[in-house]
């Protein structure tokens, strides 16, 4: 009979509580790597192909009918150059919102994978951190691919701006991921996701400056668009890759997005703890 308790010849490592939230989250790295190995195929189209198709349809083909007037395109010399950074930021939002809705609901409600995690020495903040880390890793991967492919179109003015656009995507991703995650964590019924997509994500995708300058909107709508997190992400990304960085504006964008991420994190920990630790 297999002996399951007495020490093995070489004494086994004792199971321990993690020394920090980061160390705890790192213990979930193998899990998320396995999830990615299992699901990456299903995400190829949405992560890599979709944004490029938009660039092709809007930037290249529709762009052929639009004058490259920098005065009307926030400094871009072609519509393609205008829309590419917009699509980068928009894809960051859409992929993150997708990852923080149904999959998180599944881990809390359907497959209950989180509940297995918290019977181990891991706790709620570590579970959230690891999940958000996974979401951001995917943002990084999708952004690198997008930047590399679109670089071939010759639309980037500043190479360091392109490099800086990458961490900006992570910040923007977290600014969406944390609040959406928090929303899902306390949600009982998934039908509300339709509202998130239809009244939140899609209008932002279409009106937050990704496809056209928000100045084209009526004044009140323009104010609304400028208040959305996606606009801050789009504007920051666009300033960077077009090499037209205004440090003060950029700082406002960073602070806004960081605040949203921080609040989202706080809210996520609170909501998931209330849901799971009862």
């Amino acid at each position: 009979m297999t002996d399951t308790t007495s020490p093995a010849p070489t004494a086994p490592t004792a199971p321990t509580a993690p020394t920090s939230v980061w160390a705890g989250a790192w213990r979930l790295a193998d899990y998320w790597a396995m999830v990615y190995r299992r699901t990456w195929k299903a995400s190829v189209v949405s992560s890599f192909v979709t944004p490029l198709l938009y660039v092709l349809a809007m930037g290249v083909l529709l762009g052929g009918f639009i004058d490259g007037d920098p005065a009307r395109l926030e400094g871009a010399t072609s519509y393609l150059a205008f829309v590419v950074p917009g699509m980068l930021a928009a894809q960051t939002m859409t992929s993150v919102v997708g990852e923080c809705t149904y999959p998180v609901m599944s881990a809390v409600k359907w497959h209950k994978t989180y509940f297995a995690m918290t019977t181990s020495p891991l706790s709620v903040p570590e579970v959230i951190l690891a999940n958000l880390g996974f979401v951001l890793a995917r943002v990084a991967l999708a952004s690198v691919v997008f930047l590399a492919v679109t670089a071939c179109f010759g639309v980037y003015v500043s190479w360091w701006g392109v490099l800086a656009a990458l961490p900006v995507q992570l910040l923007l991703g977290l600014a969406f991921a944390a609040p959406v995650y928090a929303f899902t964590a306390g949600l009982m019924n998934e039908t509300a996701f339709s509202l998130v997509f239809r009244l939140g994500m899609i209008p932002m995708f279409l009106f937050s400056g990704a496809f056209f300058p928000v100045a084209n909107l009526d004044a009140p709508l323009e104010a609304v668009a400028r208040a959305t997190p996606l606009w801050h992400g789009v504007d920051l990304t666009r300033m960077l890759v077009l090499g037209e960085l205004d440090p003060t504006t950029a700082l406002v964008h960073v602070v806004y997005l960081a605040a949203l991420a921080g609040l989202g994190w706080w809210w996520a920990v609170r909501r998931l703890t209330r849901r799971m630790v009862v």
Binding site: T39, K41, A42, S43, V44, V45, S46, V49, T50, L53, Y54, L56, A57, M58, L61, L62, G64, F65, I66, D67, R72, L73, Y79, T191, S194, L195, R198, L199, I202, P203, L206, F207, F211, F212, N216, L217
Partner: protein
């Protein structure tokens, strides 16, 4: 009728369970879906918004950057150009979603159809009922969208009244094919192929820019895609530029719908009645 004197199974006077007529069965399934949606009416309501948002964003927002297009030789405003495209594309997207994702869920997880087919309902009833529901919804959305277009001054002809039946035809064509293909799907991962088929059609079927943007051979490819046929048909109707080519689009979509429904029915029989 008296139940008291007969046992339930041997009663001769009670109404006999019988097979339902096609219309009756379809109405029953529609009613079932109506009941299911009644609790989520706002999902029904907000489903109409997506094409409207696209119209305002691309048609109006981006439209300010675009000077007018030529369509069938006449210059039209960009919003007038994009609007019928959105109408056709949303007819496709709506029914494709119903016919693939939602249909798959019911087929594999809900086991709704197994339960239905244990009654006198037949596979054709089920397919017809689901498609009818999807089309009913699509028709309501199209009508609402048409009203938005009228309000924005994007309708230029009385022919436009016919875009509602035209959008139903687009729905039928895509719904039939979509359901047929869904019967071959194994897992959710296969739905990436649906996106891979519908997204390029949405973006490249002359919805946002004229087909003249393509070089020769590519243009020919675009012109034979079903959504392109739907988009030009709708555009010809709302701009009033109806021609013999409109009839060709019509025949094309009817044929596609018939083939899709035929395959779907054959596949459902094999899947469910074994």
């Amino acid at each position: 009728m008296s139940f008291a004197t007969h046992s339930v199974t041997t009663s001769v006077t009670r109404s006999m369970a019988r097979s339902l007529g096609a219309g009756e069965a379809t109405r029953l399934l529609l009613y079932r879906n109506f009941l299911a949606y009644r609790r989520a009416w706002w999902i029904f309501l907000t489903g109409f918004l997506e094409p409207v948002f696209y119209l305002f964003s691309i048609g109006v927002g981006v439209g300010q950057l675009v000077s007018g297009f030529e369509f069938n030789g006449e210059v039209i405003g960009y919003a007038s150009f994009v609007a019928p495209g959105m109408l056709a594309a949303s007819a496709m997207n709506g029914t494709v979603l119903d016919a693939t994702m939602n249909f798959f869920f019911k087929l594999k997880y809900n086991k709704l159809y197994d339960q239905m087919l244990a009654t006198p309902l037949t596979t054709s009833d089920v397919a017809r009922g689901e498609l009818a529901w999807s089309l009913l919804r699509g028709g309501i959305y199209s009508t609402a969208f048409l009203l938005v277009m009228v309000a924005m001054g994007l309708v230029h002809s009385w022919w436009a009244v016919l875009v509602v039946p035209a959008s139903l035809l687009i729905g039928l064509a895509f719904g039939g094919i979509g359901m047929a293909l869904t019967t071959w799907m194994r897992s959710w991962q296969d739905f990436e192929f649906v996106t891979l088929a519908t997204l390029p059609m949405f973006l490249f079927s002359a919805t946002f820019f004229p087909v003249t943007a393509y070089p020769g051979a590519l243009r020919w490819v675009v012109e034979v895609t079903p959504l392109y046929r739907g988009v030009v048909l709708c555009r010809e109707l709302t701009t009033g530029m109806v021609s013999w080519a409109s009839g060709a689009s019509l025949l094309y979509l009817v044929a596609l719908g018939a083939v899709g429904l035929y395959i779907c029915r054959r596949r459902l029989d094999r899947l469910l009645l074994t």
